[in-house]
């Protein structure tokens, strides 16, 4: 096994979660502007199911992260850059938990129980309260924009490594 690569579990989780986040984000924006209709209720449910899936995968991913040594960063990176990279990844991890949580809180406060794939009933995190629900909705949206910002930086950084520094960083996240 190549010590300069993440293992298959980490790589699979990275790309699976990235794909699901793109889906949840796009669907979230699409559905928020719809007029209330049975279709909107359907899309809301799907969005929640994707979101809860992400939440579960990220919990698993963080456990993986806590129990594994990640490959050392390219030798040419400065101390400051390593710090920024670490903080950036931590920020993304926290948002990947906080976003589904605020979505779940928003739903609970709206009085709508989350039933994962129509099978598993998740507990209501708070009692029905419309003001609180609106607040969580705002926070859910704000955190999403924050994540978008971080992910853009993340991708720009990865591409910079690949094409400017030419340290083949992308290879670390390739199967």
């Amino acid at each position: 096994m190549n010590q300069y690569k993440y293992d298959t579990t980490a790589i699979t989780l990275h790309w699976l979660v990235a794909l699901l986040i793109v889906i949840a984000f796009s669907v979230g924006h699409y559905m928020a502007d719809l007029d209330l209709s049975p279709w909107k209720l359907k899309v809301f449910a799907w969005h929640k199911w994707v979101g809860v899936t992400i939440f579960g995968l990220v919990l698993f991913r963080m456990m993986w992260r806590a129990t594994h040594v990640v490959p050392p960063l390219p030798a040419g990176m400065s101390e400051l850059m390593r710090k920024i990279s670490g903080l950036g990844h931590l920020g993304i991890y926290l948002l990947m938990l906080a976003i589904p949580l605020t979505g779940w809180l928003h739903s609970s406060a709206a009085g709508v129980t989350v039933v994962y794939f129509n099978v598993i009933t998740l507990p209501d995190l708070v009692q029905k309260n419309k003001e609180l629900s609106n607040l969580f909705k705002e926070v859910h949206e704000l955190l999403n924009w924050t994540l978008l910002g971080l992910v853009i930086l993340h991708v720009v950084a990865a591409l910079k490594h690949q094409f400017v520094d030419k340290d083949n960083l992308l290879n670390r996240m390739r199967w």
Partner: protein
């Protein structure tokens, strides 16, 4: 049947914690009218903030007992402003034309203890149907509380017509739970 129920009520009289309730209203703050429906298979809770209750209850004379509840449908508290606006529209409650839901009792039946069954008529959106509602009395901190729950089928009252009639997105059954703290 009525006499039989009355007989039970008399026999139980010694043990009863309830005495008669005069025609009166409720204590709004501790009373609630909550409903739970399902959208896309997930429970959705809402409630009505304003309703009037007029109840005369005599455990020894159920034939003389009477209850009437009028619910101000526009006072609905639902998931979001958007869904509150929608449910007041024509295809749902049509509150502009039918502002109130009314339940009026026709007979009380004793079930033993503090439990009763109230037969009556429920009117929503211009449609009236017979309905039987369970009723239980409890005494909480000296206040008499009447409570129970009943399942209503929304299509019986054409609540949610057109595209909304599909029970897959919004289920047919809606459970209504009431808790009325009666004025002493």
């Amino acid at each position: 049947m009525k006499n039989y129920g009355l007989g039970i009520a008399c026999v139980l009289w010694g043990a009863l914690t309830i005495s008669s309730v005069g025609a009166g209203g409720i204590i709004p703050d501790t009373s609630s009218l909550i409903f739970v429906g399902k959208q896309m298979g997930a429970p959705v809770e809402g409630r009505f903030k304003h309703f009037d209750v007029d109840i005369t209850f005599k455990p020894t004379n159920l034939a003389q007992s009477h209850a009437k509840i009028e619910v101000d449908l526009a006072s609905i508290d639902l998931a979001s402003d958007e869904s509150e606006t929608e449910i007041k529209r024509k295809s749902w409650f049509n509150v502009a034309v039918f502002p109130k839901a009314v339940f009026e009792s026709t007979a009380f039946h004793a079930l033993g203890g503090d439990r009763y069954e109230v037969a009556g008529r429920l009117s929503i959106k211009g449609i009236t149907r017979d309905m039987t509602v369970p009723l239980q009395f409890r005494t909480v901190a000296g206040i008499r509380v009447a409570e129970g729950s009943v399942v209503i089928r929304r299509s019986d009252f054409r609540i949610g017509e057109g595209v909304w009639a599909d029970p897959e997105s919004v289920a047919e059954e809606v459970q209504v739970r009431y808790k009325m703290a009666l004025k002493p």
